[in-house]
């Protein structure tokens, strides 16, 4: 399967012909619509809200946002002028901005109720020009996204990672920015598998990321955090007897001269001394 990310940077790849092709293809339209609906389901918004659409393209995802019930208002941002031109032609409801998400989002703190991004953030991993570091771009994007969402806010980003390494890079950047993060995989192990990165910003309703999918059917939860916590616990704390013994053991294996173990090893000296 060819990846558009491998060809050209996004602002050049989506030129006039490519944008039109993308927007008129009924296959892409259907996929985009179903992914946006899934994202909305994950956001679980009950009142009409202000939503940021990152990589809005020609407004295929935005349409779903304004048509749904309740009807949301959205602000879209994209890097491709041709895509935005198609969106203008189609007279979408949302307000549009030309901008690069890797440069950070130009919004003040606490602006949005929620954010969605459909098939966009994998573009951040590209290294199109010299001196462009995907890690910096990712952290700039997630930091600014975290800031511009209000407390209790949520973001859902559907993306196509090239491989597991890229997926982990994106997830760890999001966690570093302060988000509570979870990955939802639809149709796993098939050609149509879809990954959704679900992000939450602190607040009462968002204490645990697994709460997002609590009321959804057919979702299995794998909690990786407990495993990580147990792993951290398993390692001996610096300065304890177990830690000293481990160190001595490794040194012995390296063939270094190590004092023999006794009942006094790792003990504190008494005050008398």
């Amino acid at each position: 399967m060819s990846r558009p990310e491998d060809n050209l940077p996004p602002d050049l790849f989506y030129n006039d012909t490519e944008s039109r092709k993308y927007t008129t293809s009924s296959r892409i339209k259907n996929i985009q619509a179903s992914m946006t609906n899934r994202a909305l389901e994950l956001l679980g918004l009950e009142t009409p809200s202000l939503i940021l659409d990152i990589g809005c393209g020609s407004g295929l995802s935005g349409e779903i946002l304004s048509e749904g019930d309740p009807s949301h208002t959205w602000i879209g941002m994209d890097i491709s002028p041709s895509m935005l031109a198609v969106a203008l032609d189609r007279e979408v409801d949302g307000d549009l901005l030309l901008g690069d998400m890797g440069q950070g989002l130009p919004f003040r703190a606490g602006s949005f109720d929620a954010a969605i991004s459909i098939s966009a953030i994998q573009w951040l991993c590209n290294e199109d020009e010299k001196g462009v570091d995907p890690k910096t771009r990712l952290s700039r994007f997630f930091d600014s996204l975290y800031a511009c969402l209000k407390r209790d806010g949520k973001a859902v980003c559907q993306f196509y990672p090239r491989d597991d390494k890229q997926r982990d890079m994106i997830c760890s950047a999001a966690i570093k920015a302060g988000f509570g993060a979870g990955l939802l995989e639809d149709d796993p192990e098939t050609k149509n598998k879809k990954l959704y990165l679900v992000l939450t910003v602190g607040g009462e309703g968002n204490k645990d990321i697994t709460g997002v999918v609590k009321n959804m059917d057919g979702v299995d939860v794998y909690d990786n955090r407990k495993k990580l916590l147990a792993k951290a616990k398993g390692e001996a704390k610096q300065g304890t007897k177990a830690w000293i013994m481990k160190k001595k053991e490794t040194d012995r294996r390296k063939g270094k001269v190590v004092k023999s173990d006794s009942k006094y090893t790792g003990r504190k000296r008494s005050i008398k001394f």
């Binding site: 009142t47 009409p48 809200s49 202000l50 309740p70 009807s71 949301h72 208002t73 602000i75 941002m77 890097i79 935005l84 203008l88 409801d93 307000d95 549009l96 901005l97 030309l98 901008g99 690069d100 440069q103 950070g104 989002l105 130009p106 919004f107 003040r108 606490g110 602006s111 949005f112 109720d113 001196g131 700039r140 511009c148 209000k150």
Partner: protein, 148 residues
Amino acid sequence: MKLLTANFISCAVKACKSSPLSFPLHFRDAELASKPVPYNPLLLSNLLPRLDWAALVTSSKELGFTLPETKPELPRLSASSFAATTGDGDMNMDGGAVGEEDEKTLRMLHKVLMETEVVEGKMVCGSCGFEYGIHQTVGNFLLPSHLV
């Protein structure tokens, strides 16, 4: 660029992040248009606490119309307040129907925030003076790489 969006946008230049002058961006040579949008009072009441009213007053002055100096007070609306108007009309503290005065304020907000658009023009940062162009209602927020 709707006024609603303008009320949430600040300068994206890195050096301006900490400066209070970087918000709001100031309109220059703006050409206005009005685009009808479905009226959504619930959204407006949801947005009102988040609006920076002082910034909105400044932007609207630059575009040539005036707004009251103080933020209008509105009770927080919920879906039930609309159900109540069609129901038995029983008014209580949070589920009460929208009063005439509030309705007028909401309509005014709707007109200013949702329907007024800047079609062509510029937005200028008060701190660094960077000019963001607006062309066919789309604001250009791409920065040259040395400013990121």
